[in-house]
């Protein structure tokens, strides 16, 4: 997994963030994340899936088979209420931390 480049838990947060805009299949999530950050999935798009399964087990997201835009059967992931709450918690934590880091960086 791309943990070398990311703070732990970042991938989970990114997935939740992507799904906040609506249900999406794995390929779509990978594309979205790729659009925003070059390197997160550089090791391989496949490393997305263990994270998806983990989030699903924690009941932060659900998965359902559906039709994709070009009529393929694909598994769509969607945020649950608990997932939305978790996203808020993580975003909050992330913002506080990045704020702290920014302040530390500025002060030196």
């Amino acid at each position: 997994m791309a943990k070398d480049d990311l703070l732990p838990g970042t991938l989970d947060m990114l997935i939740l963030k992507v799904l906040d805009r609506g249900a999406m299949h794995g390929f779509g999530i990978a594309e979205r994340i790729r659009e925003r950050s070059e390197n997160v999935l550089s090791v391989g798009e496949g490393s997305l899936y263990p994270a998806l399964y983990r989030l699903e087990r924690q009941r932060w997201i659900t998965a359902e088979w559906g039709q994709s835009e070009n009529n393929r059967r694909a598994r769509y992931y969607a945020l649950t209420r608990a997932g939305r709450k978790q996203l808020a918690v993580e975003t909050d934590g992330w913002e506080r931390m990045s704020l702290a880091i920014r302040q530390v960086m500025r002060s030196t």
């Binding site: 794995g26 390929f27 391989g44 798009e45 496949g46 393929r72 059967r73 694909a74």
Partner: protein, 859 residues
């Protein structure tokens, strides 16, 4: 997440596994196809687009593994997968599976059988309350080592019981026989007479009725209380609860059954079916067994010192109860346990070496899976699961084999073992077998698994599965050397024990055991002693009987009486230096019947056997050698201290010596009384027959029954069998050790064959080249045999070292065979070498017949 929900998830995931896996597969395939489509749209050609999509996705196998892990089935699912996969593989590879399972099953079966035999004696806690505080108590005279474990006199016991403050309780007991008679049926039973504290001290209550109360006594005119075993209660009284309270006859006295012991209860001797109350009367003769329960926190040495003070100048020995039960067989059992451990080790080495060879053939599969992203740990787990499968199959087969082995083992076992131990395969033994199998799997599976999982990806994929792997190769050589070493150790042990057994069997016992029946019966009261004479006379004239007589103490069947001897005309010896002799009572014609030669003088006749006949004695040669050296024994007058009045009697005959107790022991000076002068209520009759002695038994029983239906014939055995029992322990060890060494030889042969066959196959090319450049068949055979020797010799050397240390352990079991017996070592090493060469013959032959052109075309 609550643990229950987590568990629920896991279970659901496990149950829905197939569907979930299919979903996961489809999802990822879709992803890759979408990516490929995107690549195609970006202008790649189709082939390239698909390839790039796969690369961008990453190692799919390890991702799927990770997903399964996240999904929450993890190891269970992996394990089930591995079990199915492994079972399929093993099913395909039948030869390998059969050989590994069989060799392992032999090892496990042997371990299980010996463990089952040893468990009850050596490992299982004794079935009494807090058994680690129970001890046997003995007396010993520190100046005479042969008294190391003397029984205890009633006087000393009572002193100990009164003053032994280290003990919570103490009980005395004796063992004997008594005839139980309920009006219809009479049988001679093994009995223990015990002081009232016996059962409470052990923590044993009655199954029915009660145990003895302190005032239960043979008060004159009242009926003695007795307790019967659960077994007797079922077999004799049909488990009738009303048996408690029933009046019976015990020998000539009346008795009342007051209780039944719990099922399986025994104290030492398993044959005991009846317990009597023992009331101690002051006595100095050391003839009681004593057992005590130490107080909590009191040490054995402390207790020993305390008891010793009370019996000076004698001393006390305090021995753990278990040791006192197992002393005679513990050595053999430990040696045999060690031997089966070694055998199982060899079987493991063999399985490991087979696995190494097999895994080498699978190197490309392993490399492929590593390349696809499977972790090495995962591969190791998979290989170990296969080993576990093999071991469990072997374990199941081993337990089945062990059951049969156990029948044979019990049949061979010395009575000292079967009498005191409950030998059976029960849940505990099966559990042990499962544990052994699992340990076995780790033992033989770990190294091959680790070696295989280390396989390098690139070189393995580049070349195919042929070619040398020096690492695994030398490892296999080590394993084979180990097998050879183990085999040599066991073979040496086996041949040492066997040679010793042969020497033991060659020993002249001093009597003629063939066609000799022995049995005994007891007469109910002293006024019936003429029954012995009557039965002897009637048996002697039966068809098929040559002669019949009787003795008070049959040789090789327990110790005789012993007494001080006084020789007329000798000054009184210093105290402690009086001549001592074994004393036996015999009936007329005893020596002729049992086959003891008369050296001088004559046998007892009917005329000697009268109460008013003059006192006369027969002595053995050992007596003359020791007490009358160089003198004329006939006509000398002696007396013994056997009875209250001991008139002097003339020696009328000198007879040959008989070994005393067992073949290992030397004859002791012996004095023979004629029956009329020293009568017993129990005599052993000896009957010399024309053919099979047991064939006459029915007739003999009829004779005795006709004389008195209340006289049960007991312990009828052929003298051959009685003699055999004296070296049963040696025969048991020797036969088992020989069996194990043959098994280990088999295992080593399989191992040597396997490695050589493999190396010949791998060197096909090299051998082909050699043949092509002119090496003839003989040269090639020499090459393979050279390999064999290189394989076997290090093992032989290592085994020699092991065998030397084992033989020292064995020395207590050996008879006139030195632990360094060179013949045994030579036999063992020679056998092993021959077997190794035989195992090598077929691979060598195959190598020699190799067609060079075909060999070179390979690859």
């Amino acid at each position: 997440m609550s643990p229950w929900r987590a568990l629920g998830n896991r279970l659901r995931a496990l149950l829905q596994k197939a569907r979930l896996d299919a979903d996961m597969d489809e999802e990822m395939r879709t992803h890759i196809e979408m990516r490929a489509q995107r690549n195609l749209d970006a202008g790649m050609d189709p082939e390239e687009a698909r390839y790039a999509a796969r690369r961008q996705f990453g190692p799919i196998e390890s991702i799927q593994d990770a997903c399964r892990g996240e999904r929450g089935v993890g190891w269970i699912e992996d394990f089930l997968h591995d079990v199915r996969h492994g079972a399929r593989r093993l099913g395909k590879d039948r030869g390998f599976t059969a050989v590994s399972v069989l060799t392992l099953a032999l090892g496990i079966g042997a371990v299980v059988a010996i463990f089952a035999a040893a468990d009850d004696l050596l490992f299982r806690p004794l079935p009494y309350r807090a058994p680690d505080r129970l001890f046997r108590l003995w007396e010993r005279d520190p100046t005479r080592p042969e008294t190391a474990r003397s029984e205890v006199s009633a006087d000393d016991f009572m002193a100990w019981k009164a003053g032994g403050s280290s003990f919570e309780g103490m009980a005395a007991y004796y063992e004997g026989r008594a005839v139980l008679h309920d009006g219809e049926r009479a049988d001679e039973l093994h009995v223990q007479g015990v002081t009232p504290g016996f059962f409470p001290m052990l923590g044993i209550g009655a199954f029915h009725g009660r145990t003895f109360a302190p005032d239960d006594g043979p008060a004159p005119g009242t009926s003695a209380p007795v307790i019967i075993s659960f077994r007797l209660w079922r077999s004799w009284f049909g488990g009738d609860p009303d048996a408690v309270g029933r009046a019976v006859r015990l020998d000539s006295a009346t008795a009342t059954i007051i209780g039944v012991t719990p099922p399986g209860f025994r104290f030492g001797d398993r044959d005991v079916d009846l317990w009597l109350p023992l009331h101690l009367r002051p006595s100095k003769s050391r003839d009681l067994n004593a057992v005590g329960r130490l107080k909590r926190g009191v040490g054995r040495a402390e207790a020993e010192a305390q008891l010793s003070l009370m019996v000076q100048p004698w001393m006390a020995t305090v021995e753990p109860l278990r040791d006192s039960f197992t002393r005679s067989v513990k050595g053999s059992l430990l040696v045999l346990l060690g031997a089966v451990g070694l055998l199982l080790g060899a079987a493991c080495a063999n399985a490991a070496s087979l696995l190494l060879a097999r895994n080498r053939a699978r190197r490309s599969e392993m490399a492929m899976r590593l390349a696809l992203g499977a972790s090495r740990g995962r591969l190791v787990r998979q290989l170990l699961t296969e080993s576990l499968l093999l071991a469990m199959c072997a374990g199941a087969l081993g337990v089945a084999l062990g059951r049969y082995a156990l029948y044979a083992l019990v049949a061979l076992a010395p009575r000292a073992l079967t009498r005191s131990a409950d030998v059976a395969i029960d849940g505990r033994v099966v559990l042990f077998a499962v544990a052994v199998s699992a340990a076995t799997a780790l033992l033989f599976g770990a190294v091959p698994a680790a070696v295989s999982a280390r396989a390098d990806v690139a070189p393995e994929l580049a070349r195919n599965s042929r070619g040398g792997g020096p690492r695994a190769g030398s490892l296999r050589a080590w394993l084979i050397a180990g097998e050879v070493a183990v085999s040599l150790i066991l073979l040496t042990g086996g041949s040492l024990l066997f040679r010793s057994l042969v020497k033991l069997q060659e020993v002249d016992s001093g009597l003629m055991p063939r066609h000799l029946l022995a049995f005994h019966f007891r007469v109910p009261s002293p006024d019936k002693v003429n029954l012995f004479d009557l039965s002897r006379e009637r048996i002697a004239v039966l068809p098929g009987v040559r002669a019949a007589s009787a003795t008070s103490f049959l040789p090789f069947d327990g110790p005789p009486a012993a007494a001080r001897v006084e020789i007329e005309g000798r000054p009184a010896p210093a105290p402690g230096e009086e001549p001592v002799a074994a004393v036996r009572t015999v009936m007329p014609r005893y020596f002729g019947t049992i086959g003891i030669p008369i050296r001088q003088g004559r046998d007892f006749t009917a005329a000697d056997n009268g109460a008013d006949a003059p006192m006369r004695f027969v002595v053995n040669e050992a007596f003359v050698r020791k007490y009358l050296p160089g003198q004329e024994p006939l006509g000398r007058r002696i007396r013994t201290s056997m009875a209250r009045t001991n008139p002097l009697g003339e020696i009328i005959g000198v007879v040959g010596d008989v070994k005393e107790g067992s073949m290992r022991q030397e004859p002791v000076p012996t004095v023979y009384y004629v029956y009329a002068h020293m009568s017993y209520g129990q005599m052993t009759l000896v009957v010399r027959t024309e053919g099979d002695p047991m064939a006459i038994l029915a007739l003999v029983r009829r004779v005795v029954h006709d004389l008195d239906p209340g006289l049960p014939v007991a312990d009828a055995r052929a003298m051959d069998a009685i003699l055999g029992e004296t070296y049963a322990r040696e025969r048991f060890s020797a036969l088992l050790m020989a069996g194990f060494s043959i098994l280990s030889l088999l295992v080593a042969a399989v191992g040597v064959y396997g490695v050589l066959a493999c190396s010949v196959q791998e060197r096909t090319r090299e051998i082909g080249v050699r043949v092509a450049v002119g090496a003839d068949g003989r040269r090639i055979v020499e090459l393979v045999l050279g390999d064999t020797l290189r394989l076997v010799l290090p093992g032989l050397l290592a085994g020699l070292g092991g065998a030397l240390s084992l033989s020292r352990l064995l020395s207590s079991l050996l008879f006139k065979t030195g632990a360094w017996d060179p013949a045994s070592f030579a036999i063992a090493a020679g056998t092993l070498l021959v077997v190794a060469l035989v195992a090598a013959a077929s691979p060598a032959g195959r190598a020699a017949r190799l067609d060079p052109t075909a060999a070179l075309r390979l690859e």
